[in-house]
């Protein structure tokens, strides 16, 4: 198939930039919060939205599609019927037993206005009256056991576990009911409130109240929320061609359907007449008459006059009604300049995607023209399969004020985030998906700082499972190399993103890791800058020495001050830890026993043989004043980044991983038992290959690792065996930081 459209996947940087510039943010009704309870991979999650453009970031499998599906169950007219077809698989798998639990999908709308006629019906049904007026609205989907079951649960005596088990075993999906409510006040994601409304399954305590007012009142018959709003969903552009071929999902047909109802009958009359004439002309074709006669004759011959039908005709069925006539229209597109017009299935994927997206946007525009009280455009992963240039042009025209746009992305290439306050990060914790708001609760100044950082640097930290923050090129280059060679696994495999924040200041970035924001682990690695030379002024110190000593002392003082500041910053925050290099990264790298790779790299920095010899001697001196001064001289002379690149080339499995780095790694991410076993196996295999280990001892150790993998011994026991068997290998020291 031809490749008429270049469709390299490129970050949708422009897309976001453009939308941000175009949408004027006005006081306007919008979705401000989504609560998901026990729905698919969400146990209990809060997603917060702002008016304008919202970004939903998450790796694959983090629940983006399910989140959109939840919203569509409430807002998408096409999906409403699915709300009545929930089944067991819709319950959160984290529930050990779904029976008796509720699924709740709750939407909150903010900046509603009780004086706006277009919103009156919506607010009549779901507007919350608070402080004498309607300031927000809540609209909930609740899938719960019916009253009969809930009454029986309430009748259970407190603590009657056997009774509960019996009752739950008998519950089937037929005992469940769907309720749509509005005007609710409950926070369904609050475990205490959930227990109060639904019940406490552990303590066997269920509420007597069958109609708790907190869940709100039933949405009145007169209101259909999906009809009051305009909601357009653009799915991830994966199966576009299939969509075009399906009558229900074909975006062209839905456009034609919505327009055919508005056709001026007078304009249609001549066409109808033509169609009828056409039908008559076809029916009057001599051949048609002949066939009709033959059929009649054959029936008569076969069945006899009595049993033959009284009449039989052949009719031409070209539709004359507007709707059916319209739906016989097909879209043909000329993709290249050769004049050939192809049907959709002949288009390149990129071409089909573009047409699909265009039709969806047109659908949205038609929707918007109806009298609705709010407009929502939800786009799933717009970055996939559309060339940046086309995206830019397309979204450049996507100029819809009064519209809340929510789009999801799984691209970690997004180097820019529209507005950190409009971002939700979805993350997976085991089987559960959670939603985080990176800027929640931060004062405006800090939000701006964070925004500037994210604008300038890669927004990797929003995608990371866990993060190690460093503030220098040397760390950024050497730490991954060390980990890969020493542990045999990459940082990526460990699930750690190492991010160099440069001179931004750790607090400005690490602030996103918090109970109320990103609940992911973050380890900060920084220098303490303690002096490693004698700083006591000595008689006969020259000016330069005096200045150097003063400078070292200054660094030491500011190192202490930074430590106090950072320790204070992370105090009470279980998500962030700080790990200090006692002196300076390069100095402590050598101090850890790593003069070897530095020495090996010296020819890259010095050409003068005597200098290399001197440097080699100093680096091997074991005196921190000597090797410390030398390594800094080399690094500063070459530039720290260049220095690190050269040294990194010399790193091997015997290069020592400094303790504070190991601590930082394991504070950020605690590797699984399987991962630890792999690391030790890696070390043992190195020893085996290098013929440095006694084969018998190795065999014993391999057996120990196997027992560890099987859960028969614990890590500390394994490490004791390893230290006894191979005392010179650093791995027992490194992994000891895990115990």
């Amino acid at each position: 198939m031809c490749l008429g459209w270049p469709w390299l996947c490129v970050p949708p940087k422009f897309l976001i930039l453009v939308i941000r510039n175009r949408v004027r943010e006005r006081g306007r009704m919008h979705i401000s919060r989504l609560q998901l309870v026990n729905y698919r991979n969400f146990g209990s999650a809060n997603v917060y939205f702002k008016k304008g453009i919202n970004t939903l970031i998450g790796e694959n499998g983090s629940g983006k599609t399910n989140l959109f599906r939840a919203m569509r169950l409430l807002l998408d007219d096409d999906m409403l019927r699915m709300a009545y077809r929930l089944d067991e698989s819709d319950f959160h798998r984290g529930l050990d037993n779904w029976r008796g639990h509720w699924i709740v999908i709750s939407l909150e709308f903010d900046e509603v206005a009780q004086n706006e006629a277009l919103q009156a019906l919506f607010l009549h049904g779901v507007g919350n009256v608070e402080d004498g007026q309607v300031g927000r609205a809540t609209y909930n989907f609740i899938f719960r056991p019916n009253t009969a079951i809930r009454l029986r649960l309430a009748e259970l005596g407190e603590g009657d576990r056997d009774g509960l088990v019996r009752l739950r075993n008998a519950i089937t999906l037929d005992d469940y009911e769907v309720v749509f409510t509005g005007k609710s006040t409950a926070d369904f994601t609050d475990p205490d409130q959930y227990r109060a409304l639904v019940g406490d399954f552990d303590a066997v305590r269920f509420p007597d109240e069958m109609e708790p007012s907190e869940i709100g009142g039933r949405v009145p018959k007169v209101l259909s929320v999906a009809k009051e709003i305009s909601f357009t969903f653009v799915q991830a552009l994966r199966d576009v061609v299939t969509d075009f071929q399906n009558n229900r999902t074909n975006p062209l047909l839905s456009l034609l359907r919505s327009k055919s109802g508005e056709i001026d009958q007078a304009a249609l009359a001549p066409i109808t007449a033509l169609v009828e004439g056409l039908n008559t002309a076809i029916e009057e074709l001599p051949d048609v008459g002949t066939i009709r006669g033959d059929i009649r004759q054959t029936i008569r011959d076969a069945a006899g006059e009595t049993y033959s039908p009284a009449g039989l005709w052949i009719r031409s069925g070209v539709p004359a009604e507007a709707e059916r006539l319209f739906q016989s229209l097909r879209l043909f597109v000329g993709e290249s300049d050769d004049g050939y017009e192809g049907a959709i299935h002949e288009l390149s994927l990129g071409g089909a995607n573009l047409i699909y997206l265009t039709l969806k946007l047109l659908h949205f525009r038609y929707q918007k023209e109806k009298q609705v009280c709010a407009n929502f455009l939800v786009i799933e992963e717009p970055e996939a399969h559309i060339h940046t240039h086309i995206q830019r042009t397309l979204f450049d025209r996507l100029n819809y004020p009064d519209t809340q746009v929510i789009y999801s992305t799984h691209s970690s290439h997004i180097s820019e985030v529209s507005n950190i306050e409009n971002v939700n990060v979805l993350g997976r914790v085991g089987r559960r998906c959670e939603a985080y708001q990176p800027a929640a609760g931060l004062p405006p100044g800090q939000v701006r700082g964070l925004q500037r950082y994210l604008d300038a640097v890669r927004s990797n930290l929003l995608f990371a499972k866990s993060v190690v923050l460093v503030e220098g090129d040397a760390e950024e280059i050497l730490v991954p190399a060390l980990v890969k060679d020493v542990l045999g696994v990459s940082l990526d495999e460990l699930g750690i993103s190492l991010i160099n924040i440069g001179s931004t200041g750790f607090e400005n970035v690490a602030v996103v890791f918090h109970d109320t924001r990103l609940r992911k682990r973050c380890a900060i690695i920084t220098d303490l800058d303690a002096a490693f030379i004698d700083t006591v002024p000595a008689p006969g110190d020259n000016d330069a020495t005096q200045k150097a000593k003063a400078k070292v002392l200054g660094s030491q003082r500011s190192g202490i001050a930074r430590r106090i500041r950072l320790d204070g910053f992370v105090a009470g925050n279980p998500w962030v830890t700080v790990h200090y290099a006692p002196h300076t990264f390069e100095v402590d790298f050598v101090a850890a026993g790593n003069q070897r790779p530095v020495v090996a790299a010296l020819p890259d920095f010095y050409v003068h043989a005597p200098t290399i010899a001197l440097a080699t001697a100093e680096l091997g001196s074991g005196d921190i004043a000597q090797f410390g001064t030398r390594v800094l001289t080399v690094a500063n002379g070459a530039g720290k980044g260049w220095f690190a690149i050269q040294v990194a080339k010399k790193i091997d499995p015997d290069t020592e991983l400094p303790d504070y780095v190991a601590q930082a790694l394991f504070a950020a991410h605690s590797p699984s038992r399987a991962m630890i076993a792999n690391i030790i196996l890696y070390r043992l295999k190195r020893l085996e290959i290098d013929r440095r280990g006694n084969p018998d001892t190795l065999a014993v150790m391999f057996a120990h690792v196997e027992r560890f993998s099987a859960g028969q011994i614990e890590l500390d026991a394994l490490l004791l065996e390893m230290a006894a068997a191979f005392p010179a290998d650093q791995i027992s020291r490194v992994l000891n930081h895990l115990t």
């Binding site: 006629a117 019906l121 009549h124 009256v129 019916n146 009253t147 009911e177 069958m210 708790p212």
Partner: protein, 597 residues
């Protein structure tokens, strides 16, 4: 497209009344096509709605009127999707109590409405329990915008009645039930204390039409006025009624003046009137005009205007011969004048034992059939779920009834949903054909219905015990009906428990009608025979004002198209002696006709 009606459908007065912009206060004399004007007004305003969000609301006095007007608008070819029509109680429940229940402390955990029978039974219980001499009928109360008011304690102390009512209210609250009066009270409290309600409703309601405004209660005017005020011109109102026919004063109804309502709504109302009577003869019109309270010029212009009406007044027949006299008058009109029995109505004040008279007439005139509320084996309790099912059980599928029965099936589905019965994949049409397929071979009416309901519930997979609200309705339906049948049988009415008698409740009028004055509202007959026109009954001794008597007589007399027969029988005994004829009637000098034997 704006609704256009064929020329001649409406007269100039009616056209003027429904086309003038803004709020209208329409005074309509009897037989002047008031319902027609209201129907066309609703159709017109529905066709003028600019957005699909808005509604036209029509408030009628009875469910029957709502149903009739609804069908009439549909027959005019105007879509009723954005019409809401019903009684004020339904209005309060649909638009205020259900959507805003969570903002009222008494309703926030849900509520159930108990009907008049339920109220009476509860009051009986509490009266029995307290033994303070208070009887249920001493306890009628109503709410106004000022609070609770006792209607007529029949001499019992307010304190004693209050203690019964307090028990009654506490009992209801514990059961999360509310009675009809509380519907109005809570709706008023909500709309008065939560301003957003009126603001939102005023944006949803383009027009509020009120039928029979003269029987509207003060608190009902209050509820509507709140919406009107919040709308500040967005919502218009169209009130139709006749102050001369305001006979529900004892229940709290009254005809507000245009000026007062305009002030309450803070909006001007254009006064309009319909003064042409299309119903009666000139003689009848001239006669009932005499009883007007508020003067209104009425001209008879219908096809009966030249009919030579017989208007008789009999104040000599002793009460023990009343039955014979009624039979004589009935036979005269039907057999001599040639009036169809369907077009004859016997009217009496509601205090008279109508069932007793009916029974005796049934015996005396076996060749005729009779229709009357007194002989229905169960109450028209529209709010009872099983009454709604009974409508389908007791009517036969027919093309004429199809639309109506389909709507009834829709009503049932709505009620099921409210009772939290969730039916998957059942449509009103499906429900209807399911009901049509139920065949019960049982002649006893109550047993018949019981079996029908069982099959109905089984067909839908409903176990009654799982739904307390429905179970409660079931119990009430059969409890009330059994009590009613027992009473009728004690009165000597035979065959009342037959399924045929049940079916007649929903059959169209076929025999001579027997009705109380209050129930005859809105109806019309060729011949009206009224008895027990006695001081203390008309007017009732609880309200002995001349005006009250006049309004009752005005309503009675204006029902007749052709002949009118008034009887103040002698010898009915009151506590202090025999009743005397209604003073207003007795003192009116009129050239009455004799009715030949």
């Amino acid at each position: 497209m704006t609704f256009v009606w064929p020329k001649g459908d409406l007269n100039d007065e009616q056209v003027d009344a429904i086309t003038i912009p803004g709020n209208v206060f329409l005074t309509a004399c009897p037989g002047s096509g008031k319902t027609r004007a209201l129907t066309y007004k609703a159709a017109l305003e529905l066709s003028r709605l600019a957005t699909t969000k808005q509604r036209v609301v029509a408030i009628t006095y009875t469910h029957r009127a709502a149903e009739e007007i609804h069908e009439r608008i549909e027959a005019l070819g105007v879509g009723t999707e954005h019409l809401w029509i019903g009684t004020i109680h339904s209005f309060c429940i649909d638009w205020i109590l259900r959507p805003y229940a969570i903002y009222h402390p008494a309703l926030r955990h849900g509520f159930r409405v108990i009907d008049a029978h339920g109220t009476e039974r509860r009051l009986e219980e509490h009266c029995r329990a307290l033994r303070n001499g208070v009887r249920p009928f001493d306890c009628s109360y109503s709410y106004s915008t000022r609070g609770c008011e006792l209607r007529d304690t029949h001499g019992r102390s307010q304190q004693a009645v209050g203690s019964v009512l307090n028990r009654y209210w506490a009992d209801l609250e514990a059961k999360r039930q509310i009675d009809f009066e509380m519907i109005l009270q809570f709706a008023y409290e909500l709309i008065a204390t939560v301003p957003s309600i009126a603001i939102l409703l005023s944006q949803l309601f383009r027009f509020i039409l009120v039928d029979e405004y003269q029987d509207t209660k003060e608190i009902q005017y209050g509820i509507i006025a709140h919406v009107m005020r919040a709308g500040a011109g967005r919502t218009n109102a169209f009130l139709v009624g006749d102050a001369n026919q305001a006979i529900f004063g004892s229940l709290g109804g009254y005809a507000i003046t245009r000026e007062q309502f305009a002030q309450d709504c803070q909006a001007p109302f254009t006064p309009k009137s319909l003064s042409i009577n299309y119903r009666s003869s000139t003689r009848i019109v001239d006669y009932f005009t005499n009883y007007h309270v508020i003067p209104a010029a009425i001209s008879a212009e219908g096809k009966n205007r030249l009919f030579e009406s017989a208007i008789s007044y009999d104040h000599t027949t002793p009460s023990r011969q009343l039955e014979d006299e009624l039979v004589r008058l009935l036979r005269y009109n039907i057999e001599t004048v040639g009036i169809s029995p369907r077009e004859v109505c016997v009217i009496a004040p509601q205090w008279v034992a109508l069932a007793d008279i009916t029974r005796r007439l049934v015996v005396a005139m076996p060749e005729y059939s009779f229709d009357g509320p007194g002989i229905a084996p169960f109450a028209r309790n529209i709010d009872n779920f099983f009454y709604k099912v009974a409508r389908l059980a007791l009517t036969e599928p027919s093309p004429q009834l199809f639309v109506r029965r389909l709507r009834w099936a829709g009503d049932i589905m709505l009620e099921l949903e409210r009772a939290e019965v969730h039916l998957r994949g059942v449509s009103p049409r499906g429900l209807l054909s399911m009901c049509n397929a139920i065949a019960i071979d049982e002649e006893d009416g109550l047993n018949h219905l019981r079996l029908f309901f069982d099959e109905f519930l089984t067909g839908l997979g409903i176990v009654l015990a799982d739904y307390p609200a429905l179970a409660n309705h079931h119990e009430t339906f059969f409890g009330d009906s059994q009590a009613r049948i027992n009473r009728l049988q004690e009165d000597g009415l035979q065959g009342i428990s037959d399924i045929a008698m049940f079916r007649r409740v929903f059959a169209s009028r076929s025999g001579i009608t027997i009705s109380s004055i209050h129930n005859v509202k809105g109806a019309e007959f060729d011949v009206v025979i009224a008895f027990a026109l006695l001081q203390g009954m008309v007017p009732h001794f609880g309200d002995l004002q001349v005006e009250s008597a006049k309004k009752l007589l005005y309503v009675i007399c204006s029902r007749a198209r052709k002949n009118l027969h008034l009887i103040s029988e002698t010898g009915r005994m009151n506590r202090g002696g025999p009743y005397l004829p209604t003073e207003v009637l007795a003192s009116y000098a009129f050239n009455y006709d004799d009715v030949p034997d």
